[in-house]
């Protein structure tokens, strides 16, 4: 950005300063590493990404199901506000989300301070910090399919369950969840796959620490920066294959379990 007259010089410098260390850090990391043999797939980074995705999806099931149930069934008037907050990660650039999470988790942020005083640990540039950011970043990809499938359950079924004495939790467990299986699976897979492919938030919160926060997408970026196109290509191909396999398996499973055509379902025993 060329400096514009009228803009205070300090602000321009501050903006430049905010950008420079990050760029420098990622370049430094790639240059300090010993040269790799051609066509290397960064297996630790891939495993770390899978671990991060699985943990994110698991946490999103625990957090997302109650949140989605509230969104689907609550008559609260301020529900649209919560819906908007949940959907924000879809429209925000990952850097913006990452920036705020960094402030929140940082040594001066409320969460960062609390964690540091309780556990004596810092969150930014750790796996745990990355996990928190990933959960926020993938929240809409889990909650929206969950809530949509809950809301699609016929209300008269909920009323039937109530008239048969079922509590709200019982109705949710025995009627809503089984009938929302497709949506729940979609939410889990989408949040898993979305975490697998995240990049901006990882850079902002996780940095690039091998074995701790170096995910596969960051590894690919590093390969490209180091002009190691063969390794970038190989790793990309593995990521593409894994993502495709996960999605294809999910859709294939759903096709079999959710039968829209009663005539094609198994005959009654």
């Amino acid at each position: 950005m060329p400096p514009r007259p009228g803009l205070p010089a300090s602000l321009i410098i501050a903006a430049r300063d905010a950008r420079t260390p990050r760029q420098r850090r990622s370049r430094d990391d790639s240059r300090s590493r010993p040269a790799r043999p051609a066509l290397s797939v960064d297996v630790p980074a891939l495993l770390l990404s899978l671990k991060l995705s699985a943990a994110t999806a698991a946490i999103l099931v625990a957090l997302g199901l109650p949140l989605a149930a509230w969104l689907a069934f609550s008559p609260a008037r301020w529900k649209p506000l919560v819906e908007a907050v949940v959907a924000l990660p879809i429209v925000l650039p990952p850097t913006v989300l990452g920036f705020y999470v960094l402030l929140l988790l940082g040594p001066h942020g409320p969460v960062g301070r609390a964690v540091e005083s309780l556990f004596g640990a810092r969150l930014p540039f750790t796996f745990e910090g990355l996990l928190i950011a990933s959960v926020l970043y993938s929240l809409p990809f889990a909650v929206q399919p969950f809530a949509a499938s809950f809301a699609a359950v016929d209300r008269s079924l909920l009323e039937a369950a109530a008239s048969l004495g079922a509590s709200r939790l019982g109705t949710f467990r025995r009627v809503v969840l089984p009938l929302s299986r497709a949506g729940v699976i979609t939410g889990i897979v989408l949040s898993f796959a979305h975490t697998l492919g995240e990049f901006g938030v990882v850079l902002m919160i996780g940095g690039n620490i091998p074995g701790e926060t170096r995910t596969v997408s960051v590894a690919i970026y590093d390969h490209v920066q180091a002009l190691d196109y063969d390794s970038a290509g190989a790793t990309s191909l593995v990521l593409l294959a894994v993502s495709f396999a996960v999605l294809a398996t999910t859709y294939a499973l759903q096709r079999r379990t959710v039968s829209a055509w009663p005539l094609r379902s198994k005959p009654a025993s």
Binding site: S156, E159, A161, A162, S163, L164, G165, R174, P178
Partner: protein
């Protein structure tokens, strides 16, 4: 003796009419009350309030010695704690559960053996043996209706609420199930409220009926009283253009049955019914004659006396007293003038046997 139900409440809808309910169902006096009225009259709203699915803005609902709703005290018992059996118009069967699991749904928390025993008993009562493993999508409309009914009665509810129980069925199935449903309701002996807009259903199922028009209950009484003596013009229009008489089949010969109605003997087509029946007759199917004695193909010539003559557009509605029975006839203005129909005139009501529609009355 079954507990009585007293409901007095107002349910308001934004931008819509208010629904007023004022209904007392005495326990013991015949178990089935029909809530009858045209669509949009508020029947389903009343039923939902009784079920606890809807919370009226004002009023009280008291069942036996239990208060389900008292808006002044802020008291409201939700559906899951009312121990009622509810049959939805579209049945609302759980699509992911088998028929057996659907019926067992309300028996949650019981020991497994007890639950299985009661589920099997409810399925057997509805003649669903052998269908327990099927999903709702693998059942016919009539079978789904039975599963829904079995599910509603399995937990031994204190009150049964049935919303248009037969409307989702095709014609032949509906006729078959109508009689069975009445027999089942009598056998259970549980007080039941049945919502319907079908007068044949009302006749076939109810002991008492409450007629709702425009969000208010206009008349409440024994089914025969409501049909034979509608409280006002709107109730009369609502319960229909038909004459409804309580009769009894006393003989059958050559494809015809003889029905005794208030001492009159009528010939109707034999459709395999016997015993007590309702006789339905549309006013436009009644031909009026002066003097009688003319030969015609009609089987029924009933002497009567004109009690009222009321113009209805291009036609005139004439009511007759044929002994104890009251008949309604629609004639043109010209015929009315020609026959000099006026109060007290002696006429014959001529009715073809196929015009008499018989409905079983248990």
């Amino acid at each position: 003796m079954a507990a009585s139900l007293e409901a007095r409440f107002v349910r308001r809808f934004r931008g819509g009419p208010a629904i007023h309910a004022d209904l007392v169902l005495p326990g013991g006096d015949g178990p089935v009350t029909v809530l009858f009225g045209p669509s949009g009259s508020g029947k389903t709203t009343v039923l939902r309030a009784l079920a606890g699915l809807d919370r009226p803005e004002e009023g009280t609902i008291v069942h036996g010695d239990e208060t389900w709703l008292d808006t002044r005290l802020g008291l409201f018992v939700p559906a899951r704690r009312r121990h009622i059996g509810l049959l939805f118009q579209d049945y609302a069967l759980f699509p992911h559960l088998s028929a057996h699991e659907n019926v067992a749904f309300g028996l949650h928390g019981m020991p497994a053996a007890e639950r299985d025993r009661r589920t099997a008993a409810a399925l057997a009562l509805l003649k669903l043996e052998g269908l327990g493993a099927r999903r709702p999508s693998e059942l016919s409309g009539g079978q789904r209706q039975r599963v829904a009914l079995a599910r509603a009665i399995a937990p031994s509810p204190r009150l049964l609420l049935l919303d248009e129980p037969l409307s989702a069925l095709d014609g032949p199935t509906r006729e078959e199930l109508r009689g069975e449903l009445r027999a089942l309701l009598l056998r259970l002996g549980v007080p039941a409220v049945v919502v319907t807009h079908d007068r044949i259903e009302a006749l076939a199922l109810g002991d008492r009926m409450a007629v709702m028009v425009d969000g208010r209950i206009r008349q409440h009484g024994r089914v025969a009283d409501v049909f034979e003596r509608p409280a006002d013009r709107e109730v009369a229009r609502c319960v229909g253009v038909e004459t409804v008489l309580a009769g009894r089949i006393v003989g059958a010969a050559e494809g015809l049955v003889t029905v005794e109605v208030h001492g009159l003997r009528l010939a109707a087509v034999d459709r395999g019914l016997g015993g007590d029946v309702w006789v339905l007759l549309r006013a436009e199917d009644v031909v009026l004659e002066r003097g009688g004695g003319t030969r015609s193909s009609a089987r029924n010539h009933l002497p009567g006396r004109v009690t009222t003559v009321a113009p209805e557009g291009p036609l005139v509605r004439v009511t007759l007293a044929c002994g104890e029975a009251r008949l309604s006839a629609l004639v043109t203005r010209a015929s009315c003038t020609e026959l000099a129909l006026e109060e007290g005139a002696e006429v014959f009501a001529v009715v073809k046997a196929p015009s008499l529609h018989l409905v079983p009355r248990i």
